[in-house]
Symmetry: C2
């Protein structure tokens, strides 16, 4: 099959490597000619160009641009498509993406391969990046069944754990396990910076070890990614944050009122529950 | 020097192993005869007994019992001590410990070796557990200088990073980097459990990966340890929790009002600040 990839970064490039391994012909598009050249040299594309006209030859197109340019990307892409061309994407939020792209191109299936590294760009692309990783597809009622089947058949051989759900359910799930943790973790660091006694703050920095390192890790991550989560998954993130604040209020109340038995019960419940999330 | 260790668990046993390596004679006390026998076999004590009378021979005693029995331990220990005997402890909070022990035995220096593993008990004891770990001593004005010097001279050769500070400053510092993270992390798990749609909650469990794993780790830890932090470091923990709640409120406000530039600024600040805590 001829597969188009628009955006040859970590995700687009890694998809290109794996899809070529599966025997597909991969056509890549990047705004940068240098990126196109590197994608071909690295084996992430058979052919690459800065001109979206290349996508006229593609049967299925993976939109792998950052979320904030995806609307521009689809509007520029549409004039080059044949009516049967299927489009999918790799964005980390789905309701907003599906609502944004579908009016331009109804033959669209939202997708989210949940893999990555701390790096970005075509040089960071890796083979088998998606092996054993979740890959969520979010068709809506209006999505053509053939589009869902085709994208499913293309990504399943990459060894992914495939899920199909509504865009809204995807967004609520990732708000809990990905977007809320970033805000929780960033707020932990921000709170520590509020310690007014510089000697105490310096001591805290010296004493911080693995517990602080782990709890603060995602709060010390890429600020642009954190912004994207908040901006494009605003509703679900706010619901999660609101529930989280209630939990913090509850803990404050238990500690203030010395309800130690209830505090232990919560700590026992979260200890037991964590194993259901962390395999 | 004759060094006494009361409580032969992970910390007491590991101290025994290292202090014997340093040429000290180690005398251990445990309530369990079996633990005493194992401590001698494992090389964590030269001699061990269930009777605190053994401590009459000790020059310096490390109290390594859990916090909730430390008051009973010191009151039972005092009748066996010579007036020049120096007592120190290894508890993870210091203001409460210093206030509790000093009336019984003024020749006391609070201490906190900040090392450990997920295991407990004499079988978990390890040589070099404290190598490169922080070891905080918290003398007060009334603490005899000789006691501080003696304990300092005993623990420094273990290769620890030694700090001296007020008990209150220790407690505020560990509230920020150790006790607050436990409550933040436990509350994250507790909030996720509030998702009312079971399909969404199951999806969240399936999609959770390294970000959730790290942020939730200390919240999934030993409930008894979490309780000790809250119970014996109540004041400092409440101050940290209150500041943290303000930060969460601030993030909610920024996301609600779509103040994206301010949100990015916070995420940039916490990204930059984390490196000061995480070496």
């Amino acid at each position: 099959m001829n597969i188009g990839i628009v955006g040859l970064g970590l995700i687009g490039g890694s998809l290109g490597l794996d899809l070529r391994s599966q025997g597909h012909r991969v056509l890549g598009v990047s705004r940068q000619a240098e990126t196109c050249a590197r994608a071909v040299v690295r084996g992430a594309a058979d052919e690459a160009d800065t001109d979206l006209a290349l996508m006229a030859k593609a049967d299925v197109i993976f939109l792998c641009t950052p979320l904030h340019v995806i609307k521009t990307a689809i509007s520029q892409l549409v004039p080059h498509l044949r009516s049967e061309t299927i489009v999918t994407d790799v964005g980390s939020v789905k309701t907003w993406v599906v609502e944004t792209i579908t009016p331009y191109w109804p033959n669209f299936v939202g997708g989210h391969p949940m893999a990555g590294t701390a790096e970005s760009g075509i040089e960071a692309a890796l083979p088998n990046l998606f092996l054993n990783a979740p890959y969520v597809l979010t068709p809506i009622e209006a999505t053509p069944a053939l589009a869902v089947e085709t994208v499913t058949d293309i990504v399943r051989p990459l060894g992914v754990r495939l899920y199909h759900c509504r865009p809204e359910d995807h967004d609520r799930a990732v708000a809990w396990i990905s977007h809320l943790p970033v805000m929780v973790s960033s707020s932990l660091i921000a709170a520590c910076l509020q310690e007014p006694d510089t000697a105490v703050q310096e001591l805290a920095r010296q004493l911080a070890s693995s517990g602080f390192r782990d709890t603060s890790r995602v709060g010390g991550g890429n600020p642009e990614l954190g912004l994207m989560m908040a901006r494009y998954n605003q509703k679900a993130l706010l619901q999660s944050l609101s529930t989280y604040r209630e939990q913090i209020d509850r803990v404050i109340g238990l500690v203030q009122q010395e309800h130690w038995a209830d505090l232990v019960t919560q700590l026992e419940q979260t200890q037991a529950a964590r194993s259901a999330f962390v395999k």
